[in-house]
Each structure stands twice: as structure tokens, then as C-alpha cells.
């Protein structure tokens, strides 16, 4: 097996050549130096160096940044929103419990777009995260803090959540590996809901090995999440096998058409040649309904959001303000108007609109029918192909502030990632090239519960490309 960054680190820790205390102290130092420049974290855990377990489990004491919409007991969990400021969950999310049991060291709560609604991490109430490759640019979103922390070396592993691309987008923009698992593979217990039928928690790492490792730690049935699926335990590291002979890979035509940056299209084509040289058979495939995926996704996501975010009333947890005139209707309005940011308000209002009488069939039900079409077309493609590929993002990381004024233009950035969430499929984004010293991501989509296939393809492509990924802001540069 090729010794990539994470595997090398684990071997050093196992052999004792890198004492765990020294490793964790180094991570603390990296966070202290880089945070003023990057703002990857909303909360850094005090004394995380002391939280290591005596007996080393699967994760061997590696550091994990946890997106701030995933509950860690006793640690402020804000979802990037003022409305949850001060909220300290009374329990660990299942994924956090599993990471702790596997001796992962949780370093902090990673920055994110408010309630995971965004593609740039600019919508965080706690300031934007910056891209380690170029701090004037966005890191992608909504798991931008998680991806920036991993790219810069502030953390070696991270958890993100992916509702419409929120793991794959920042992984692509920050030049790291991010995997959105099949819907139901990873428990959502303790993930603060935005759009339940679309979202999954997944791993972000410097390399494919790290992603396989963290996925192994967090995947599996959980009776506390009724949508989690009973599957036998898999050590996803065993999927990292050399060679792709016999693999059939489809290139999704609709994802490489108009609107894709030519440098990205060219980099994807280079990767296709590499895949062929590794023994895979690569052909073009069409998923025609992808052209309706973006409006369908936004209708469904906003509808679910308007319902989920109704719970924030300023009574049971989170933001509280004095009640005036004994008027509770006014109180709820005051709390919600102060606590939610612009993008969250937009989505709650639109979600309520598409669910209202007269528009429910026209928008919501129609979007769910498009979902059926997309799912069927993907399933048809997987009768022929082991995996499908395309770009993760149609454009390179852009400047902070460049698109924030125009919500529709920002939504368009998600065009390559949302089809996967509508269908509930697994997908991984891996770096496949650089343009103007900014990373490009390639997306590999698998059939249901075939994370092993996409990890194997990603692992082989990563080794064949052998990219030198050195972001401008990282622990080795400070």
C-alpha cells in the first residue's frame, strides 16, 4: 500500500517515533498560529491534548475537527448561528461517541455556513473561514471550516455534513478528500437537522486512506436513527486495493457541458486517461434529468428546512431575550428575527411558500417526482457502470464577497453535487489537479452502499496522479 500522509502518521505514532504527546502539542501549536488567519473553528477545545485515551483504538489518537452542527456533550454547538449561541448539548452524537471510542481526539467545532445553508462558509455568524490555498478566497461550504482545518494541517481528520454538496464542495476547493456516504450508512443522531431526507455526515481527510479510516470508525447501524440501515461491519481500508482492471466507469455528460471552467474540464479529462491507464474502461453516460436537479433540490431542501427550523423558539434552548408585553407571538418573532441570518430567513420563507396551499403540488410534489426520475436514471446507469465521474465543482474557488450578494448565483455552484443527495448515493471528491495554484476536485459517485468501489477508484487515482498539494497556509509553512 502506498504510504500517504495519514498512513505515514499512523505508523509513526504506532512505532513511537512520533510520541502522541508531541503530535498533539504540535497540533495545538498549528491551531494557535493558523486560526487568526483561517478561522476554521468556532470553538477550539481547551486541553484536547489531555483527552487522549490510554489504549489506542482504530484512530490511534489522530485529531478530528467536528462540524459545528454535530453535538459534542458539554461543548457549545452553534450551527454557525446566533440562535444557538450558548447551546451546550447534553449528549454526544453517535458519530462523536464512536470517534471517542476509537481514540480519536476531538480538537474543536469547525466553522460552517449557518445551519449548513451555503457553499462558501461566508454565512457563518462567526465570520468567514478562509481558503488555505489563498486566504482571499472562500474554502467552499458549508463544511468549509472542516476542510480548511484538514488542508492546513490544523487537524488531520474532520467530520462534515453533506446536504447538497457540503462535504464535496469544500473538499474540492481546499484540495482535500471528502466523502458523502450512502443515505443511511452513518447515523444522523446528534446532527442538527437542516433537510433530513438529503443529509449525511461524512469524513474529510488529507488522503483517501484517512477518509476510509474515519468512515470505518463512524459507519454502522444506530437504533437511535430510524433511517440508519443494518449492514455488516466493513473496514473500508480493505477496499484500497491496487489496480482497476475490470472496472467500468461512466463519465456523466451533463456535468461536463456548458458552464464548466475549461481548466476543470481539461483536468477531468486528464484523470480519465489515468483511469484508463489503470485498467478501467471509461465511457460516456447520460443522466438527462440532472438538468432539473438544482431547482428540485432547492425546493425540497427549503421545504424541509422551514419545517425543521420551526423548533427555534427561544424557550427550551439557545438564544433568550426578555419577553415584552407578555406577548409570546412577538417574542418568537423577536428571537427568530435576531437569531437567524439572511440566508436562513430566505430559505425558511421560501420553504413555507412551496409547502403552502396552491403551491404544494406545483413545486414540492413536482420536485419529489423529479427526484424519482433522477434516482431511476442513476440506478439504470449502475446496471452498466461500477461508478460515475464528473467534476465536484464547475468553477475554481472564488474571492470572498464575490457572489454573496446574489443567492441564485451561489445556488448554481451546487449543480454538480446535488443530484447525488436527491438519489441518496455515495460520492467522494478527490483533488485531481491544480489551476493557478488552486485545487480542482473530481467526483466519483457509487451505487448504494458501494463506498468500497469509489474508495478503491479514488485510492488508485490519487496514487497515479501523485499531486504535490502544498497550500499557502499550512502547519509546515508557519
Amino acid at each position: 500500500m502506498k504510504e500517504t500522509y495519514t498512513l505515514k502518521l499512523i505508523r509513526e505514532i504506532e512505532s513511537g517515533s512520533l510520541p502522541l504527546d508531541e503530535y498533539l502539542a504540535r497540533k495545538r501549536e498549528a491551531i494557535e498560529k493558523l486560526e487568526p488567519l483561517l478561522n476554521s473553528f468556532i470553538t477550539v477545545l481547551k486541553g484536547f491534548e489531555e483527552s487522549r485515551s490510554e489504549k489506542l483504538g482504530l484512530l490511534r489518537g489522530l485529531t478530528v475537527a467536528v462540524k459545528d452542527n454535530i453535538c459534542v456533550e458539554g461543548v457549545e454547538t452553534t450551527c454557525g448561528s446566533l440562535i444557538l449561541k450558548g447551546y451546550k448539548p447534553s449528549y454526544d452524537a453517535t458519530v462523536v461517541e464512536r470517534i471517542k471510542n476509537c481514540s480519536g481526539v476531538i480538537t474543536g467545532k469547525a466553522n460552517m455556513d449557518e445551519f449548513a445553508m451555503g457553499s462558501t462558509t461566508e454565512w457563518s455568524a462567526f465570520g468567514p473561514t478562509r481558503n488555505p490555498w489563498d486566504p482571499s478566497r472562500v474554502p467552499g461550504g458549508s463544511s468549509g471550516g472542516s476542510a480548511a482545518a484538514v488542508a492546513s494541517g490544523e487537524s488531520d481528520l474532520a467530520l462534515g455534513s453533506d446536504t447538497g454538496g457540503s462535504i464535496r464542495c469544500p473538499a474540492s476547493f481546499c484540495g482535500v478528500v471528502g466523502l458523502k456516504p450512502t443515505y443511511g450508512l452513518v447515523s444522523r443522531y446528534g446532527l442538527i437537522a437542516y433537510a433530513n431526507s438529503l443529509e449525511q455526515i461524512g469524513p474529510i481527510a488529507r488522503d483517501v486512506y484517512g477518509c476510509a479510516l474515519l468512515l470505518t470508525a463512524i459507519a454502522g447501524y444506530d437504533p437511535r436513527d430510524s433511517t440508519s440501515v443494518k449492514k455488516p461491519y466493513i473496514d473500508y481500508r480493505t477496499a484500497l486495493i491496487d489496480g482497476l482492471e475490470g472496472f467500468r466507469i461512466g463519465v456523466i455528460r451533463e456535468l461536463l457541458g456548458e458552464g464548466v471552467d475549461r481548466r476543470i474540464a481539461s483536468s477531468i479529462k486528464d484523470s480519465i486517461y489515468k483511469l484508463e491507464s489503470l485498467g478501467a474502461c471509461v465511457e460516456e453516460v447520460s443522466i438527462p434529468s440532472i438538468s432539473f436537479a438544482l431547482p428540485a433540490y432547492y425546493v425540497i431542501a427549503m421545504a424541509e428546512a422551514s419545517s425543521n427550523l420551526a423548533r427555534y423558539d427561544g424557550v427550551r434552548y439557545g438564544m433568550k431575550i426578555p419577553v415584552k408585553d407578555h406577548d409570546w407571538g412577538k417574542y418568537y418573532e423577536d428571537v427568530r428575527s435576531r437569531g437567524f441570518g439572511l440566508e436562513v430567513k430566505r430559505r425558511i420563507i421560501l420553504g413555507a411558500y412551496v409547502l403552502s396551499a396552491g403551491y404544494y403540488d406545483r413545486y414540492y410534489i413536482k420536485a419529489l417526482k423529479v427526484r424519482t426520475l433522477i434516482r431511476k436514471e442513476f440506478m439504470d446507469a449502475f446496471k452498466i457502470f461500477d461508478a460515475l465521474i464528473g467534476p465536484s465543482m464547475p468553477i475554481l474557488p472564488f474571492k470572498i464577497g464575490e457572489k454573496i450578494e446574489d443567492p441564485l448565483e451561489l445556488y448554481m455552484c451546487d449543480v454538480d453535487t446535488v443530484p447525488v443527495n436527491l438519489a441518496g448515493l455515495p460520492a467522494i471528491s478527490i483533488p485531481c489537479g491544480l489551476a493557478e495554484e488552486l485545487p480542482i476536485g473530481l467526483q466519483i459517485i457509487g451505487s448504494y452502499f458501494h463506498e468500497d468501489s469509489i474508495l478503491r477508484i479514488a485510492y488508485n487515482l490519487e496514487a497515479a496522479l501523485d499531486l504535490k498539494l502544498n497550500p499557502r497556509l499550512s502547519e509546515v509553512c508557519i
Binding site: 437504533p223 421560501l350 424519482t372 443567492p407 441564485l408
Partner: protein, 94 residues
């Protein structure tokens, strides 16, 4: 199909979801949200006649668990609400 500002009734929907918009937000949203709804109208072109809706990506039905009590530290949850008395949340008078 285009939506005149009045049709989306931003202010009315906002009040239904317990949001009070500032005059600036209201002005901004009435333009932006109408444009987004126009974008949603692309769904009119989708060939969905006779297609069943998919509410959920997996076909999971009737998930049950054992009808067993599992202890939960209720005090921890109640304490998040701030003022608590005898396992009730203390709220200001209505």
C-alpha cells in the same frame, strides 16, 4: 412565468413562520425571492406525468424498536432552558 412582487407576499409568509423582516430585508427579499421562484418554475418543463414522488431516498418502512425504557438524564435537558422549577421550565407570564 414571472411573479410580481405582491404575488409572493413576502411579509405575510414571514409572519406565518414567525419572522419579522426589517424594511430593508423586505425590499431585498421581494426581489430576490421572486427570482428564485422563477428559477423553481423550470420544474414545469420536467416530464413527470405519471411519475410517483420520492419522499425519501431509501425504502424503509415501519421501523420499530423494543418498547423498553432507556434512562435519560432529563435534568440535563431541562437545564438548557435556563430557569427550572420542579422539572418544569419557568417562563415569563403570558
Amino acid at each position: 412565468m414571472s411573479y410580481p412582487e405582491s404575488k409572493l407576499e413576502v411579509k405575510r409568509i414571514a409572519s406565518l413562520v414567525r419572522l419579522r423582516l426589517s424594511p430593508e430585508e423586505e425590499k431585498l427579499f421581494s426581489i430576490q425571492l421572486s427570482r428564485i421562484v422563477e428559477f423553481f418554475d423550470q420544474l414545469d418543463e420536467a416530464p413527470v406525468d405519471g411519475v410517483e414522488p420520492t419522499f425519501h431516498p431509501l425504502e424503509i418502512y415501519n421501523v420499530f424498536r423494543e418498547d423498553a425504557v432507556s434512562p435519560y438524564p432529563g435534568d440535563k435537558l431541562l437545564n438548557l432552558a435556563g430557569k427550572v422549577k420542579d422539572r418544569y421550565i419557568w417562563i415569563p407570564r403570558m
